[in-house]
């Protein structure tokens, strides 16, 4: 029924797109904006693969209506690498085998990114709590937790 002009900031750039009122944020990001890093892993709210940051807080793009995002700032996995260099979290997941098939990884990393911004040296419990809604069917989670710990150490050593 309704269509609107949606003004949002995606990865630091403000855009204006025509979207249907019933469009999901995950589809807006993947199809309208062309950012396919954000994944859809379930039929709604259960797996965390679609996690993005909205004004810095983790949100599930698959159960967020794009229309409700007017004026908000959205960050996706594509925002992390700068000038061809991966972020500390991305490097840590790469080096510490935090990713196997990789499907859950963008959501894992965005949830971990929100955590590390809040708490640069989280305990293992805090890491597990922050990633509680991100399901992985490959790694068994241990390597993921180790990756976040490695990123935390890298940040402490001043890596960027």
């Amino acid at each position: 029924m309704g269509t609107r002009l949606l003004e949002v900031t995606v990865n630091g750039r403000t855009r204006c797109d025509a979207v249907d009122d019933a469009t999901l944020l995950v589809d807006y990001l993947r199809r309208s904006v062309g950012l396919t890093g954000t994944k859809q892993g379930c039929d709604g709210g259960e797996c965390g693969a679609c996690t993005v940051l909205v004004d810095g807080a983790p949100r599930l793009a698959c159960i967020t209506l794009a229309a409700s995002m007017a004026g908000r700032s959205i960050e996706t996995i594509e925002s992390l690498a700068a000038a061809g260099r991966m972020s500390p979290l991305q490097r840590a997941f790469h080096e510490h085998l935090g990713a196997q098939c990789g499907y859950c990884t963008p959501g894992m990393i965005m949830s971990a990114e929100a955590l590390l911004r809040r708490d640069r040296a989280p305990t293992e419990d805090a890491i597990r709590a922050a990633l509680a809604g991100n399901l992985c069917r490959c790694t068994g989670y241990v390597k993921i937790v180790e990756s976040v710990q490695a990123a935390s150490r890298a940040l402490a050593e001043g890596e960027r």
Partner: protein
Amino acid sequence: MTIDATTPRFEFRRAASVGEAVQWLATPGARVHAGGTDLVPNLRRGLERPSIVVDIGGIAGLAGIAWRDDACAIGATVTLARLAADARVASTYPALAEAAAAVGAPAHRSAGTVGGNLCADTRCVHYNQGAWWRGAVGGCLKRGGDVCHVAPQGRRCHAAFCGDLAPALIALSAELDVASYGGVRRMAAVDLYRDDGAAHLALLPGELVTAVRLPPPDGVSGYRKARVRGSIDFPLAGVAIALRVGQRSIERAIVAVTGVGPRPVVVGTEAIVGRRVDDETAALLATRVEQSVKPMRTTATPAAYRRQVAGVLAARLLRTLAA
């Protein structure tokens, strides 16, 4: 792509004020959207077919927590993440902070709101499924069918209300402000619910919960839930207790249980008031809880387990609160 090829589209409107929201909500088929974490999955599965979706997330007056001495008014769009992180809420109303922290996972809590949690739909393993799944069993009484797969001989829906905040707010004697096109009214939190899984809210069409009002605490409180995965799931049963213990014995106790039927159950506590908190009293409470709740097989977990675990949670929480 939009939500689902079979889902009728809707018009999304962002309300700037409560007045605007209730005016739009007076339209038949209009639905409130707050965080959307309960509504949107249901839209995706074709369980809801609203004409208008009224977003209340932009109404400035609904997003605050206001204190007067030790009483508190919490706006309907305050998020669960904020509630769980608020130090004053945690020290004044532990049951509420614990319940907020126990909802879903972090991304549900950063979107999910107090009002949305109170008004979330009831749940059933035969209902919260995709359209093809429900189609294969011919729907059910709650939507699109004429039989209940949980109690096929009956004519009512037993889907369980699974919100975590409601039992805590009931135990803490909270009241709700409810606005509509016709005006504003106040009701006890416990009166928000009806014993019908297909129509579990006592709100009239077009009514909007705008705030939760909590009196100063009368004693201590807490919330415990059992779930399949500790990381994310809805409660199989969740128990809130508000307790005042005098020199020797329990002076006052309110016990409310969620996840075990269409509405939260308030458990009578006459049997434990006047007693000291010991193993016998805890066992008495567990028995009272088990007698009061009647979960039906609306989850993959057997109903008998949910009844038993509700009693165990209540007994453990009582001991913890009195320790």
